[in-house]
């Protein structure tokens, strides 16, 4: 299903669409306030972050090896997975070989990408997503709609109904404080009974061999401090060279994501806790291939802050589920087609080219430029609809023949705006639905020029 088709379903409920739009825009404004409070340093930080990521990406294999060496020296085990299937197999083997049946997991888009939950559940392992938003969507059997705010598409009374049905809380609850309390009490025994904790990795420090996990709820820490086994899953692009680089990224991450100066918890793990085990799974799953494509490789700098989706007018008004992908929004529309161009071919077109995403990206990925580059790739590969191909062919024909261009632009001028609109509505109905023609000058430049040149 295409983005436009899914988005049409979302926008059909105009009131809800506007509510979603406003909710995300509020997060964008919080980001602006936080960025503003850092003053002139903000742009310097962005430039630094981009430079650190570019340098790291160029020397990625060396930094990955350095990270592995130092992690192992601290007593962690490091595993490598070339794809999602390998990742799932490694995680399952670690759990099964230790007789683990109860797992808690904090937010990891990588595990979402690999489909870890269904893989483990099919093998009899209970896996509970402990981030509140993730738990909500897990109970609803749906994917998250935002990488930082998984349940942003839901209203409080819907969550109240969900908790009533599935957690036995009183009917009609809708106060966020009360609902959060319900979730707290529901998840607490699950933390205390978990035999393993799976987390993502925000940053992997090559210099020290440590992994850093950032949360607001403390769910990653509650899980990892109680369960004897900690499995940390990371993409190869998460590695950064020095501990000092954390200063740059941590100053950017939470401000870009939610407008906070820093997340409540920023945990640094160097080897296992006493009596425990730490296993780090390093995953490729298409990332090395993306690094080999100069037009798109800088997308690997992404620190998963979500700022691009908060600002994107298309995301705000179509919702994360319209993208049909693990990661939605502008960055998702670049990463996902790289993974599966045919399946995600409509995503780079779900873009107004406003460039707002590029403005807010903390690591300065030229997002809208890459979306445009994707369009070129998809057209070249023939992966666009026949109507789009027909229109592009027609445009090529008209624009390369001056006499035809003159004719085509003459017609609307003679018909006048009202008739032109009617004509377009007949000939290109979906284009005309939300677009209007520009004001038409009474005479073309060519005509005016000729007139003035005559003595």
């Amino acid at each position: 299903m295409s983005h436009p088709a899914r988005a049409a379903a979302f926008t059909a409920n105009a009131a809800r669409m506007h509510w979603h739009d406003q909710a995300l825009w509020t997060v964008r404004t919080k980001r602006d306030r936080a960025a503003g409070s850092v003053g002139g340093e903000w742009e310097q930080l962005r430039a630094l972050a981009a430079a650190i990521k570019a340098h790291t990406l160029a020397r990625l294999p060396d930094y990955l090896e350095q990270f592995e060496r130092n992690a192992v020296a601290h007593g962690a085990h490091v595993h490598w997975a070339r794809d999602a299937a390998a990742h799932n197999r490694i995680v399952h083997d670690l759990l099964a070989s230790r007789g683990v049946r109860r797992v808690v997991k904090s937010k990891s888009m990588l595990t979402e990408e690999c489909g870890l939950n269904p893989h483990l559940e099919a093998r009899g392992i209970q896996i509970v997503d402990t981030d509140l938003g993730e738990r909500i969507v897990q109970l609803r059997h749906e994917p998250p709609s935002h990488i930082v705010l998984p349940a942003i598409h839901l209203k409080r009374d819907e969550i109240g109904d969900l908790f009533h049905e599935q957690l036995g809380s009183p009917a009609g609850l809708s106060d966020p404080k009360q609902l959060t309390e319900v979730a707290r009490q529901h998840l607490r025994p699950l933390f205390f009974n978990a035999q393993a904790a799976i987390t993502g990795v925000n940053f992997a420090v090559a210099e020290t061999g440590g992994v850093v996990v950032c949360t607001n709820e403390g769910n990653a820490d509650l899980g990892t401090s109680l369960a004897p086994l900690h499995i940390a899953c990371m993409g190869i692009e998460k590695v950064i060279p020095r501990a000092g680089d954390l200063g740059v990224f941590l100053r950017l991450l939470a401000r870009s994501a939610t407008g906070q100066a820093i997340t409540t918890y920023t945990s640094h793990f160097h080897g296992p806790k006493p009596g425990g085990e730490l296993h780090i799974v390093i995953v490729d799953n298409g990332r090395s291939a993306l690094r080999g494509r100069p037009a798109f490789s800088s997308a690997l700098a992404c620190i998963r802050c979500g700022a691009c989706m908060n600002t994107c007018p298309v995301y705000r008004r179509s919702g994360g589920h319209s993208y049909g992908a693990t990661i939605p929004g502008p960055i998702g529309s670049i990463l996902e087609p790289a993974r599966d161009p045919a399946r995600h071919r409509t995503l780079p077109f779900a873009c107004s080219m406003c460039g707002s995403c590029t403005d807010v990206c903390p690591v300065k990925i030229p997002l809208h430029h890459q979306l445009l580059a994707w369009r070129r790739e998809l057209v070249t590969a023939g992966l666009v609809s026949w109507t789009k191909r027909a229109v592009l062919r027609m445009a090529r024909v008209i624009l390369s023949r001056p006499w035809l261009l003159r004719l085509v632009t003459f017609v609307p001028r003679r018909l006048g705006p009202a008739l032109t609109r009617r004509l377009l509505a007949r000939v290109m109905p979906s284009w005309a639905k939300q677009r209007d023609i520009p004001a038409l000058a009474p005479a073309s430049f060519r005509r005016l020029y000729r007139k003035r040149r005559r003595p």
């Binding site: 997060v27 310097q44 430079a51 650190i52 570019a54 340098h55 990406l57 160029a58 020397r59 601290h74 490598w80 997975a81 070339r82 390998a86 490694i90 509140l132 938003g133 909500i136 705010l149 349940a151 839901l154 409080r156 966020p176 404080k177 959060t180 309390e181 979730a183 707290r184 607490r188 933390f191 607001n216 709820e217 403390g218 769910n219 820490d221 509650l222 990892t224 401090s225 109680l226 020095r242 501990a243 000092g244 954390l246 200063g247 100053r251 906070q260 100066a261 820093i262 997340t263 409540t264 918890y265 640094h268 160097h270 296992p272 806790k273 490729d284 291939a289 690094r291 100069p294 490789s297």
Partner: protein, 207 residues
């Protein structure tokens, strides 16, 4: 180790030619007034208690216990909370699964960061990591002369890998996952108090 996948991934990366670029120097530390710490901590939902004299710390904690109704307390800071009627001191060593009913935990912080209200807790000072996260209310005791301006200063200050665990904690556990409404006390502590100990209200910044 999964050598085959490891070699395949590293091999694929090494086979690519990517433009090299230099690793930039880290930025200079910013100038931030120490008084901004309180503002940053409040913005993160935390509370600040500044005491000059260690005895005042005992009083501040007594007040906090009263306000929160805390009776079961675990402390990793010598001399605190001080003996008092009505409270039980819980030993936090041993199996972390017994930490499930601690009302208030008192934990030492090494230093605090002015720009974001965060306190660095080193695993070297914790017997159980879980103590910081499983309690209902958390108190972080920080020497008043150990404030650094920003995260750049924080990472210059000490190696992060001197312990298996270390954490920056800024404010109480929180979430805004339900309609963007901020709620304090998600899964971790419902409140966080930073007790700045042994110095007048902060006016110097530690190097």
């Amino acid at each position: 180790m999964n050598r085959r996948d490891r070699n395949s991934i590293l091999g694929a990366l090494r086979a690519q030619t990517v433009d090299q670029s230099p690793l930039p120097d880290l930025p200079a530390v910013s100038e931030t007034a120490p008084a901004a710490f309180q503002q940053a901590l409040h913005a993160a939902g935390g509370q600040l208690a500044s005491v000059t004299h260690p005895d005042d710390a005992v009083d501040a904690l007594a007040h906090l216990c009263q306000v929160t109704g805390a009776t079961r307390i675990a402390s990793l800071v010598a001399g605190l909370p001080g003996a008092r009627e009505g409270i039980t001191i819980v030993d936090s060593a041993g199996d972390p699964h017994h930490l499930g009913d601690i009302d208030l935990a008192i934990v030492p912080g090494r230093f605090a960061v002015v720009e974001n209200g965060a306190v660095w807790i080193s695993g070297l000072d914790l017997r159980q990591q879980a103590l910081c996260f499983a309690c209902e209310h958390l108190v972080l005791v920080v020497p008043g002369d150990q404030l650094v301006p920003d995260m750049h200063a924080a990472y210059r200050r000490r190696r992060i890998d001197d312990a298996a665990f270390g954490v920056f904690i800024s404010g109480p556990s929180k979430t805004a996952d339900i309609e963007q409404a901020l709620v304090l006390g998600a899964h971790g502590p419902r409140s966080l108090t930073v007790l700045l100990l042994g110095a007048p209200p902060p006016c110097t910044l530690a190097g």
